[in-house]
């Protein structure tokens, strides 16, 4: 089963990379851009009986390794 974990800086946590990307987008003429948050996506192929079980397993991975709960939030999505 394929699951996707998306990790993003928490609201309020400084994201220098996102800020720099927003600045570059402005310079390219995308004046309508207000804010960019840069994060990471992990696509994980995992053996699981049900989509729900895959999601639980991925959330556990996200909590312990893929994200740092001090500075990041994550979302899990089952792809297939």
């Amino acid at each position: 089963m394929k699951v996707q974990v998306c990790v993003l800086p928490k609201a309020g946590v400084l994201d220098p990379q996102g800020k720099a990307i927003a600045g570059a987008l402005h310079r390219l003429g995308h004046a309508a851009v207000h804010d960019v948050r840069a994060g990471k996506i992990f696509r994980i192929d995992v053996d699981a009986e049900t989509p729900e079980a895959a999601k639980v397993a991925a959330a556990k991975m996200a909590e312990t390794l893929l994200s740092n709960p001090v500075i990041e939030d994550f979302e899990v999505e089952v792809l297939s």
Partner: protein, 231 residues
């Protein structure tokens, strides 16, 4: 008796020998480099997590090293009150492991920064600064891309109130200015300790400032203070 110092070597550590050298030179320590796959620390007086790029800084700086076999022993050692010093990448590892609060994110200016900075000793709560009067200014090098310490406002207030903020970036005259902060670190924090004071993490490199030949001997104060505190 000579202090016994264990320096942990992760794949990608590159300041391990410098740390051992500094401990030997300044404290006359008996040092041992310990590969991260080992689990037995022996009976050291101090464990150093050195600078470098453990696991190539993959995922987040220090995130992978946290799961190295040796870290379970380091955690147990710290929880028993053992002295642990995390320098640069070692500081990142300690935050990732939850042995120190907050986290280290990318420098505000996005660039890797290296050069000498000035630090002000803010607290004598740890053995590493117990013999350095608060307010003392020390000059030592930094070299990092992710040294921007962040924490929520409650954590910062708690650390401030309990004297756990150990070093702050200042200018040459000892004043806090935006220009003196090299990485955007919250409240100019350069180093913090845990509640008990036995675990210290800092981004600057005291081990690279222990000989006049290296440009500064101020880093030696940190090791000297530790040696004097245990005597």
């Amino acid at each position: 008796m000579k202090p016994r110092v264990v320096v942990v070597v992760f794949p990608g550590s590159n300041c391990d020998r410098d740390a051992a050298h500094a401990a030997e030179l300044v404290m006359g320590a008996e040092t041992r480099l310990l590969w991260h796959g080992e689990t037995s620390l022996g009976d050291p007086d101090l464990v150093v997590l050195p600078g470098g790029f453990s696991y190539g800084d993959y995922l987040r700086c220090g995130a992978m090293a946290r799961f190295s076999p040796v870290m379970q022993s380091v955690r147990a050692f710290a929880e028993r009150g053992g002295a642990v010093l995390g320098i640069c990448n070692g500081f990142q590892v300690l935050c990732e492991a939850g042995l120190l609060p907050g986290a280290l994110v990318q420098n505000g200016g996005l660039r890797f920064v290296c050069g000498d900075v000035h630090l002000r000793v803010e607290s004598e709560r740890t053995p590493f600064t117990r013999r350095i009067p608060a307010g003392t200014r020390l000059r030592m090098p930094i070299a990092h891309g992710d040294g921007n310490w962040v924490a929520d406002p409650e954590t910062l207030a708690r650390l401030e109130a309990s004297g756990q903020i150990v070093f702050r970036y200042v200018d040459e005259s000892g004043s806090r200015t935006p220009e003196a902060n090299p990485n955007g670190s919250l409240d100019d924090v350069a180093g913090i300790c845990n509640e008990a004071g036995n675990v210290l993490g800092l981004m600057p490199h005291p081990e690279r400032a222990v000989e006049a030949l290296l440009g500064s001997e101020d880093g030696a104060e940190v090791f000297r203070s530790f040696a004097a505190s245990r005597a």
